[in-house]
Amino acid sequence: MSAGEHPCFHCGEPIPRGLVIHARIAGRDEPVCCHGCKAVAEFISGAGLGDYYKYRDTSSTRADEPPRPDRWAAYDRPELVERLTRAEPNGARSITVLLEGLRCAACGWLADKALSQQSGVLDVSVNPATARARLVWEPSKVRLGDLLRVLEHVGLRPHPLAGEPSEQMALLERRDALKRLAVAGFGNMQVMMFAVPLYFAASQGMDPTMREYMRLVSMLVSIPVALYSGWPFYRGAWVALRSRSISMDVPVSLGIILAFLASVWNALTGTGEVYFDSVTMFVFFLGLGRYIEMIARHRAGSVADALARLAPMTARRVRGGVTEDVQAMEIAVGDELVVRAGEVFAADGVVLEGEGRVDESMLTGESNAMAKPPGALVHQGTHNLATPLRVRVTAVAGNTVLSGIVALLERAQAERPRLAKAADRAAAWFLGRILIGAAIVFAVWWYVDPSQALSATLAVLVVTCPCALSLATPTALAAATAALARRGVLVAHTDAIESLSKATHVLWDKTGTLTRGLVRVEDVRTHGDVTSQQALEWAASLEQLSEHPIARAFTVTGAPTVRATTVEVHAGRGLEGRIDGHLLRIGTRTFTDALHAGAQHASGHAGHDAAADAASGESWVYLGDETGLLAAFRLADPLRPEAGQCVAGLAALGLPSEIVSGDEAGAVARIAERCGIERQSARLRPQDKLERLKALQGAGAVVVAVGDGINDAPLLRGADVAVAMGRGSALAQTSADLILVRESLDDLPHTVELARRTQRIIRQNLGWAIAYNLAALPLAALGFVPPWLAAIGMSLSSVVVVLNAMRLSRGSPPQRRPVWPANPRAEAA
């Protein structure tokens, strides 16, 4: 195949044939795919952090371009840094940084080590789960800009975050819930210890004083459980009652309060039974379920942060002829900003000066750069590629297009999963019946035997606790979501898990999903005595100044050592320029041939090449001079190495794949053949894709759509399950149910499998909960079940449900790829 023998040492991607770049690591030359990866790999090894390559379990992010130290210049200015960061004791400052490319715990280790080596760094805590690092440093010893440069040098692009109130609140919420849970857990264990002897007190003839003593101690331990751990339930119930609705919290609170007060009364007066064991166990297990759900909710929240990283925190403002770096939030509508090439727009605006080209792929998915003449609109978060632009700001903060998308996403996340809601509705319905039933039981017993009335009523309330029923779905979904998150699959809409388990077809948009979505040089054929290395260098220096998407394929390999002068653009044909006085052309065959029209030594095989190239439907670019053709480059959007395996895996699960692409038929057919897809259609417009989808759905299919660009948004919205790639456009991600963060297609068949297992487990859980409740209710109502037995039965039924759900988080650990020295992807490619 076209890829070189070895994958890139750093990022694991195939190295274009003919390209020879080596990184000097531990006295050995390791092949890398671009100068960016070379710089990163040499820095990591040079800093004594080579262990990283042993520990990591996924390949690193492709560096694309060598680090650019000037990007962080704004963070060297103390007064700006002061406003962006938080004060710590002893004059230190702290900031939270989102690290792009932080994929595994080894990356976290790398960031930690690299930063800790810097003098003046007081504390670094990296959290791989949230891709965040918190830095504490002494401004007098080291500048923030330098720390950010270190992070960029090791291949983790930092995005400083200001404030971050939502993350902080989530953290406090988690800690608070954990403390309440701990009190309930400790309390429950203690109370159970006293409860067991009390159960047998009567039959074994316990000393009455000892019995009283143990009951009072149980009460003492239960008070914090009922008041502190149970507080969230009472608050929830109060909120629900005030809005004249009934939620799970109402009967739960009623049960806790009733049983607790009755027990306190009995303990103090020395009469009847105490139910402290039931109360504490009830609070503990309900709290545990809530805690698991909260963790899953917080984890899913990180998608919004991933979007926030798109907007820069600083901007360069021109005011009264003075240019100054300011914080992004200080920019006002009407300000003038200077955005240099390579920078990201901090606000929406209108171009005043400069002929720009802007990469808007993060908003639109359109991979070709957009021309931005004066008067054109530019958007926050998009990337200025070519020339400096002067921009007048038209929208800031909450009014930009980017923040609109973020808001959309946040709203989508705030909705609770549909499936879990259905379970809650079922539980609420069930609860209404239980409360009525309990009242009837109480009334009947009051007539028959008043001394048994409270006990039987409590047994009904406790034994039929619908918590097993209401835990059945959320625990399974939470376990599945957590297991998927560990694999790098983010579940944005939990109900997608149900749809995915029923899926019958997979529709692929080819570009960016089956392929990488980046045009690269796949093959170099040289003519005469030119080496491929030389040809690539020349091509790169000619293309250096061009913003044509094809130019990226050449320049991505890094800064060339030779410089081209007097480069002229011949629109639609190619580029002409001089390197060391040597006149060269790059572009279409006729364009390069025109240069040596007189020289007839254009060899036979070169001519043969062109005909064959044209027939194959492949995309070739030629480099020539006055003597003839020097080299031919085959450009392609390379297939992801694991694509074939993924398609086969899905087929084995009964999900046939089909390509719906807007690309040319030849390119689509080639990709389809290489990954074993039989059905394909090419040259489709977005509405055609949607039509194909509707046709399938009309025939009863449940369709999974995988896409990454704006042109896929209709397809994704229409699909039963929408899957987007981690680096796809923001719009594609907001329409998606699942996001493959690691961009590894291997994850897809595993996700389908896990979704099916999840559904099985939910069904088992619901079946168990309903069967248990149906069996226990009549027994409790007839007074055969003492409250302590009811509590054990109820707790056990909940524990069964939770343990059954936990089976989902085991079983399919993420696959480790051996990464040193070779990468198995090479064989796959």
């Binding site: 690591i25 531990a26 006295g27 050995r28 090894s45 040079g46 800093a47 004594g48 952090l49 080579g50 262990d51 390559y53 042993k54 520990y55 715990a105 080894a106 976290g108 280790w109 080590k113 080596q117 805590s125 990296v126 959290n127 791989p128 789960a129 953290l171 988690r174 800690r175 954990l178 403390k179 701990a182 009190v183 400790f186 203690q190 006293f194 000393d207 000892m210 003593y213 143990m214 101690v217 003492l220 331990v221 040193w820 020295p821």
Partner: protein
């Protein structure tokens, strides 16, 4: 069995101490990230000279 009048309060004191320790640990962020600390044991304590760590691998 009178010993229980002393042992139970003593046990409760221990429980209270355990809870206090748990609260302290939670408050200081011990439970915020349960995944990555497992990796810290892989670190070498003494700073290796540049390239040393990777050379070990070559010998495989």
């Amino acid at each position: 069995m009178e010993i229980l009048y002393i042992m139970i309060p003593l046990g409760l004191v221990l429980v209270a101490f355990g809870l206090w320790a748990f609260f302290w640990a939670t408050g200081s962020g011990q439970f915020d990230d349960l995944d990555s600390p497992g990796w810290t044991v892989l670190e070498d304590d003494k700073a290796p000279p540049p390239d040393d760590a990777s050379r070990k691998d070559d010998s495989r």
